[in-house]
């Protein structure tokens, strides 16, 4: 990392960002009162889930510089624990979350203790291998997980919140609020981490492990703390996702694609910043929905670039909807090649240059 993130160059009071996050949260909290379109709420739920996962990864990957490409393991453990307990033991999901998070944390500690001795590409490889081991375990432990068939969530018991009984889990509203709350929580945790001793230690580890170690920072301990924090939010997101979609199987719940998407969210927005994963989530969710709904093809047709009835037009209409992973691939390649600091980093650099120019021009 060549340029330090803004937080390390000047220490600001956490009040302003916390107030901003809470204000954004309050505004978003009002949305379901005015918007009833299930599609809009659905997109927001996807956005919140993406924010949670990207920000959770950012704690260990962005601040700590430990690029785990195996976060699907925690996502899957969270999702499977809650769903298995709900379907086979009739445990309500909000209670099921307790063992789910505990398991994810324990798994993170085990994985961390093993893999944090490794560096760079070796760590990345080990994290992938661990996630694959978890996926194969879920695939083969058929008594518990139904194997490749996956588990369908039949129904969720009623939930009482402050005297109000919620029974309608087909509606998107409960998921909207739980997603929002968790997204706010993880962003606030990021704000806190960025300004805490943990955050400074992590950034020191990211910049130079050996230097950090020689200054007396216990490397493995702080990496483990960050990973446990990251894993628990990821598991929570997994549980929420599985309940929201109502289905979980090893391929969609623990596959390498999930791990890659999590990393992409943070990378595209900009790693090691509070706003990065939020921006990344917005970009990725908007983009994949635009593809799915064929908005891109419509745009190309309307712009006169492609004729609707031509072979290319038909081909695009038919296939571009399934191409979101292709676009992810292109995006990550472009971001790495042309703005390795992500969208937020690129905007920050632009703002800095502008300020410098203004300062020079000022008399």
């Amino acid at each position: 990392m060549t340029t330090p993130p803004p937080s390390s160059s000047r220490r600001r009071s956490p009040l302003a960002p916390v107030a901003a996050v809470l204000a954004a949260g309050a505004a978003l909290g009002l949305v379901p009162a005015f918007v009833s379109s299930p599609y809009a709420l659905h997109l927001m739920v996807l956005f919140f889930l993406s924010v949670i996962m990207g920000s959770a990864w950012n704690l260990i990957g962005g601040y700590g510089g430990q690029y785990s490409v195996g976060h699907a393991a925690y996502f899957g453990v969270g999702a499977y624990t809650v769903v298995v307990l709900l379907q086979f033991r009739q445990v309500a999901p909000w209670w099921g979350l307790v063992p789910a998070l505990a398991l994810a944390m324990a798994l993170a500690l085990v994985i961390g203790s093993i893999t944090f001795r490794l560096r760079g590409p070796y760590f990345v490889l080990a994290s992938i291998a661990v996630a694959e081991i978890v996926r194969l375990a879920a695939l083969n432990w058929k008594d518990l997980t139904n194997g490749a068939e996956g588990i369908l969530v039949s129904d969720i018991p009623p939930l009482v919140v402050g005297g109000k009984v919620i029974t309608n889990f087909v509606s998107k509203v409960p998921f909207y609020y739980s997603g929002l709350a968790l997204a706010l929580a993880v962003v606030l945790v990021t704000v806190w981490v960025e300004r805490s001793k943990l955050g400074y230690y992590l950034q020191a580890i990211r910049e130079d492990q050996d230097a950090a170690n020689s200054l007396g920072i216990p490397l493995t301990r702080y990496k483990n703390v960050a990973l446990v924090l990251s894993a628990s939010f990821t598991a929570w997101a997994g549980a929420l996702y599985a309940l929201y979609v109502g289905f979980i199987d090893p391929a969609t719940g623990i596959g390498l694609d999930i791990s890659v998407q999590i990393v992409l969210t943070a990378i595209i927005g900009g790693i090691g910043t509070v706003g990065g994963p939020v921006v990344g989530a917005a970009v990725l969710v908007a983009l994949s929905e635009a593809l799915r709904a064929n908005l891109v093809t419509d745009l190309l047709v309307k712009g006169g670039l492609v004729r609707e009835t031509s072979k290319v037009g038909l081909f695009l209409r038919e296939n571009l909807a399934h191409a979101h992973m292709l676009i992810y691939g292109l995006l990550v390649a472009l971001v790495i090649l042309f703005m390795p600091e992500g969208v937020v980093g690129a905007l920050g650099a632009f703002a800095r240059r502008r300020r410098q120019r203004l300062a020079r021009e000022a008399p």
Partner: protein, 288 residues
């Protein structure tokens, strides 16, 4: 005992192909210190090339390597010159993400072009086998083993005897020193990536008669190639050769004595154990 020999033999035959994939990965790593996460997708590319050469032009998959290798060599070289070359000095994580991105682009482009249908390349000898001292030997696997052995022998000759091979090895040993000795290290990087990509595609072509061919087929090969390379030692061609055979045999024995569903798990656990206890691998000197 014959069960043991049987699974050992088919494991070794399969392992030779893993070795070929791993050698490609290790050459690219050796020269540029970049781990190619799109390696399995190059195997996939080789499979599709062999498939279309067979179905459209009637070329036998074992002969098609003569076309597949140069074609994918050029593709790999182009990829190096246009994209990978730009991140030679970037963070290793960014290099990895870039190649993951390339892999996604390749597999999803294949899905757009060829759909995600499973394809099968059926030759006259696809399911034939013969008996040898109580052990049955699959003809396509034996064929791929023999071609692999020939390709590996040529590669060793190239790396050890020719000037260019020595230049590649010198670049892998010490890029700066090689440059000071007048070696064109930029060109060597292009050549090495071409060779690595070509070998992966050849392996794909050799696997085509015995494997389902579909756009996502590559991913497990990427992981397996890493296991092979880490076992042998990053950057060691010799290590990858031995590593491939060992992993093939382990996988095949695990399928028989543990369970066929868990054979990959056994391989990954082995991988973690190697990373932890012998990270330099069997033949490597690289530092973790």
């Amino acid at each position: 005992m014959s069960l043991f020999l049987q699974s050992l033999l088919s494991g070794v035959l399969m392992g030779a192909v893993y070795a070929l994939i791993g050698i490609g990965l290790t050459i690219i790593f050796g020269v540029m210190r970049i781990i190619n996460f799109a390696h399995g997708e190059l195997v996939m590319l080789g499979m599709y090339l062999a498939y279309f050469l067979f179905t459209l032009a009637g070329v036998d998959p074992f002969l098609s390597v003569l076309v597949v290798y140069p074609a994918v060599w050029c593709f790999g070289a182009l990829l190096q010159k246009t994209v990978i070359n730009r991140v030679l000095n970037a963070l290793p994580q960014n290099q990895i993400l870039l190649t993951i991105g390339i892999g996604l682009i390749l597999s999803n482009t294949a899905m757009l072009l060829f759909t995600s249908d499973y394809r099968i390349l059926t030759t006259s000898y696809s399911s034939s086998s013969f008996h040898l001292g109580g052990v049955s030997v699959s003809v396509p696997l034996l064929g791929s083993f023999l071609v692999t052995a020939a390709v590996t022998a040529i590669l060793y000759w190239f790396l050890i005897k020719t000037d260019m091979g020595q230049a590649i090895r010198a670049t892998a040993q010490d890029r700066d020193a090689a440059q000071l000795m007048g070696i064109n290290v930029r060109w060597m990087s292009v050549v090495a990536t071409g060779i690595g990509a070509g070998l992966a595609a050849v392996a794909g072509a050799l696997l085509a008669p015995t494997y389902y061919i579909f756009p996502q087929v590559g991913q497990p090969f990427t992981l397996k190639a890493f296991v092979v390379v880490v076992l042998g030692g990053m950057g060691s061609v010799m290590g990858a050769t031995v590593g491939g055979i060992v992993i093939g045999a382990t996988e095949s024995l695990a399928a028989v004595y543990v369970s066929s569903g868990l054979k990959d798990m056994v391989v990954y656990v082995l991988f973690l154990l190697i990373l932890l206890f012998k990270p330099a691998g069997l033949f490597g000197k690289s530092r973790v």
